[in-house]
Amino acid sequence: MADLASRITKPDETPAAAAATENAVDDPTEGSNSKGIIESSYDVEVKLADLQNDTDSPLYSVNSFEELGLPKAINEGLLAMNFKKPSKIQEKALPLMISNPPTNMIAQSQSGTGKTAAFVLTVLARVDFSQPQQPQALLLAPSRELARQIQGVIMTVGQFCENLIVEAAIPGSISRELGVRASVVVGTPGTVMDLIRRRQFDVSQLKVLVIDEADNMLDQQGLGEQCVRVKGMLPKTIQILLFSATFPEKVHNFARKFAPNANEIKLRQQELTVKGISQMYMDCPDEIQKYEILCKLYGLMTVGSSVIFVRTRESANEIQRRMEADGHKVSALHGAFEGQNRDALLDDFRAGRSKVLITTNVLARGIDVSSVSMVINYDIPMKGPGDREPDHETYLHRIGRTGRFGRVGVSISFVYDKKSFDALSQIANFYGIDLIQLSPDDWDATEKKVQDVIKSSRAKPDYAPNALGN
């Protein structure tokens, strides 16, 4: 993004060109190519029994939301949100998901490509709004933050649907007396299970079950078990949709059992490093100087909102202190805060009242704040006993907090010793990323480098829009 600033300053390109063509009449033949020129493509493999590889089949691909035949109210909600065209995953997955008879779906697509909207549309398309208090769709998410976020998306997309009631089945939000009285329910598996057991959640009419961040949900011991139990309590005919940015093979097998006979949409592994994100690392002389260097980063490029991932609460608090002294509005979100405090902190960040979010891993997955333009790995994500192994999946989910929906994002990882350097190298090797080194010695030079990196990462041939069909 910073590069944008610098590119803005290169005006002559456009005007000069315009001048050159001063007397030229627009060439309408350009039109034939233009479609290809515009479209950036995420290569999506569609695996279908009867339509293998036929991604261009008009039956299974749509060019506008209107062509999907979604109800008018939903379409208007999309327009109000500035959604003009389906993303690739939406274009491919939606027709399969909303067709009848309902078929299960396992979909994997990188962060920020519109997975949430895809299943939200399916849910809304299946709900019968004449029964606003009868639960008809259930969505499960791994954390209360994510559940609330999804709830927000449903209400925004459905803003023109009359009688749409969406409830979050998370601790402390469903009335004990009344139970669930909504057509769409978004929740965490534990709470949902309790509600069903207490007979406060009538599941008899449920038509759709969506599991977001499915790899995480099905993989983790506790969550996976709960998901299976919840599923056991639901009608057998329910349509099951599983979504995630990553699907490790063993989870994938499990997913196939969980959602039998599903259509599958999947990205190849090496494409998963989010292409629009410029990934860099900062070579810090020692751990202490990381604080100061962190503050300097904000002058190097235009930053909207940013997320800083740290390992411990203590460093989260210290960073917060320093950054506030430097004029930033900061939310620090970590395990020390409980439920509704966490909600409030995250709401501040979402609403733009604070623009820096410091967090431990709570947030790595799924949280979508569209204006996040920089993600900082203040500590490299590690896993395993004694944090010995680099955690590449978490790295991927973390940097996926920026560059949402084709926007430009930057990630900067801090290294300061051999361990952190080795860990980051392994992650980079795993995904085949070229991480660019930055140094805190000469800020003029670093600024220029950052700007160049942002520019060039977009110029990579595979990221640059391809002419489709050429």
Partner: protein, 547 residues
């Protein structure tokens, strides 16, 4: 009853009796059958008579009632008809008014200035009504010949062709190279008789806008500066000059260690501050604003000894020294201009990168821009240097300045400001996001209230009006998605500020923008429909009914 009021027959009977006193009474036949029958007959007749009489009277009464009823009904109907007629005629008048205002003709870059008179007509036609501003813009509904002509041509030749070339010489002397004869400013006529549509608008707006929609005497402050050249392309020139300035700063820094030490830090500090601005409570941004103003002031003091430059290269029209101006010299420190430029760049970049995803984040940036550019000691010869920012906007979002083109052609895209990355057009989504951010940013800058401030608004609301008029007056076939996106972003979240500035005229303009403009577009794309959806959202959220 009978007893109380004996019928005439009965009376005659009694009356008769005295005449034949006892004879009858004592007559033997008194109780005869014949007599009995006779009497019976008589009473029968009497009965029938009474009955008939009663029926007659009843009928009469019924008739009278009926008449009364009909009469009343008739009167009611008449009243209703009268009312309806009144309403109808009023509505006809209203429609006529509406129709009048609606035809806001395309403005700007259109070559065909329907001769001067139209403006004058507008001027007097509806001086006070809300339709005025709209009508004003309505004037030059240009022939759509223009589309194929690259805009630059529009900028210059169009204006050249105007029939008031005489005025031209006045245009900015600065630009010796000016291919931009543009500014054919009819020197601030008190009654604006715009020669070109663009000019017309400016002229008109100069007059009434300053007034904020109500009529007021031509605001002298607006009118006084030498005729403002609407010449858009002066902006690209300014933009080039700024680029050259930045290069020169780099060169200066090579030989000026003091400058080198400070310049980068100042630049990064400004960028950081702009990035730190948050929505919501304005007071939270005071620190950032003060830091930015402080840095600019430091640059103005020029202790690092940057070279002095002629600010004329960075403003639209030449400026003459004026009384009481803090800076009247023909030069200012280059570092100051440079940092203004950095500040403008940072703001625009923030629009593109942040407001693109969340348009509401543009607002605090707009506040900060307006506050800094209006600082009295940052004015040059009494006028703000905001043209530095506008030059940037002109490059990245030309549709705000009346340029248009087809998204399906190379040249069209160029004119629309569709960005290119290493020779390739950026993806559509990204382009539309940028336009969203820039539209919101433009509104954030141009709809600031200075009523309570001693400072002078560097970019008053008439510019917003003008930009909107330029978009909505596009001939239907040439309406582009880019324009719709920019228009939507300009309106969303700013409807109330716009209405505060223009009152009913703003509502009329919103109707044009959100109802009529999308309705007339020949291609009903998602971008077009999203304008209509915005009208619905406004209705739902604010109760503002436009359609």
């Amino acid at each position: 009853m009978q007893r109380g009021s004996p019928s005439p027959a009965r009376r005659s009977q009694f009356a008769a009796s005295p005449q034949r006193p006892l004879s009858e009474i004592f007559d033997e036949g008194r109780n005869s059958e014949a007599r009995h029958r006779l009497v019976l007959e008589a009473s029968q007749k009497e009965h029938i008579r009474v009955r008939e009489e009663a029926e007659r009277i009843l009928n009469e009464t019924l008739l009278r009632d009926e008449q009364q009823r009909v009469l009343e009904e008739r009167q009611r109907e008449e009243r209703r008809i009268r009312a309806e007629e009144q309403l109808a005629s009023e509505r006809v008048r209203l429609n006529a008014l509406k129709a009048k205002k609606v035809e806001i003709p395309p403005l700007l870059p259109d070559p065909e200035p329907p001769a001067a008179p139209p403006a004058a007509v507008n001027g007097k036609a509806t001086p006070t009504t809300t339709s005025q501003p709209a009508a004003a813009t309505a004037r030059a509904d240009g022939p759509s010949t223009q589309p194929t002509v690259p805009t630059q041509v529009n900028g210059s030749t169009l204006l050249k062709s105007q029939q008031t070339p005489a005025a031209q010489p006045l245009a900015n002397p600065i630009t010796s190279n000016a291919p931009v004869p543009a500014a054919t400013p009819t020197p601030a006529l008190s009654s604006p008789k715009p020669t070109s549509s663009a000019l017309g608008i400016n002229g008109l707006l100069n007059n009434n806008v300053a007034v904020n929609g109500t009529n007021a005497p031509p605001a002298t402050s607006m009118a006084t500066p030498p005729p403002q050249p609407p010449a858009q392309d002066r902006y690209t020139e300014i933009h080039k000059n700024l680029k050259a300035l930045r290069r020169s700063m780099v060169d200066q820094a090579k030989n000026n260690q003091l400058l080198k030490n400070r310049m980068g830090d100042m630049r990064r500090e400004i960028r950081k501050c702009v990035g730190q601005l948050v929505s919501g409570v304005p007071s939270k941004n005071r620190g950032q604003q003060q830091t930015i103003v402080g840095l600019l002031r430091e640059a103005l003091a020029n202790q690092v000894g940057s070279q002095l430059v002629d600010p004329s290269s960075f403003v639209l029209a030449p400026r003459n020294p004026i009384q009481n101006a803090i800076h009247n010299d023909p030069v200012l420190p280059s570092l100051f201009i440079y940092l203004l430029n950095i500040f403008a760049k940072a703001a625009v970049s923030q629009f593109i990168n942040e407001a693109s995803a969340r348009p509401e984040t543009a607002d605090p940036v707009g506040v900060c821009i307006a506050a800094a550019f209006s600082e009295p000691d940052f004015l040059w010869r009494g006028v703000s240097m905001i043209e530095i920012l506008l030059a940037k906007l002109r490059i990245v979002c030309p549709v705000l300045f009346g340029y248009r083109g087809s998204e399906k052609t190379e040249q069209g895209r160029q004119r629309l400001g569709w960005w290119k990355d290493h020779g390739r057009w950026i993806p559509e989504q990204q382009h539309m996001d940028r336009m969203t951010g820039l539209g919101a940013g433009f509104a954030a800058i141009s709809l600031r209230k200075f009523a309570q401030s001693k400072k002078q608004n560097p970019f008053p609301a008439r510019h917003y009006w003008t930009a909107m008029a330029r978009i909505v007056n596009t001939p239907p076939a040439e309406i582009s998605n880019t324009q719709c996106i920019v228009l939507k972003a300009m309106v969303q979240n700013y409807e109330s500020k716009f209405i505060e500035s223009y009152g009913n005229a703003a509502i009329a303009a919103l109707r044009t923008a959100l109802i009529e403009f999308p309705a007339k577009a020949t291609e009903k794309s998602a971008a077009v429909s999203s304008l209509q959806v915005l009208a619905q959202v406004l209705k739902r959220d604010t109760g503002l009914i436009l359609g």
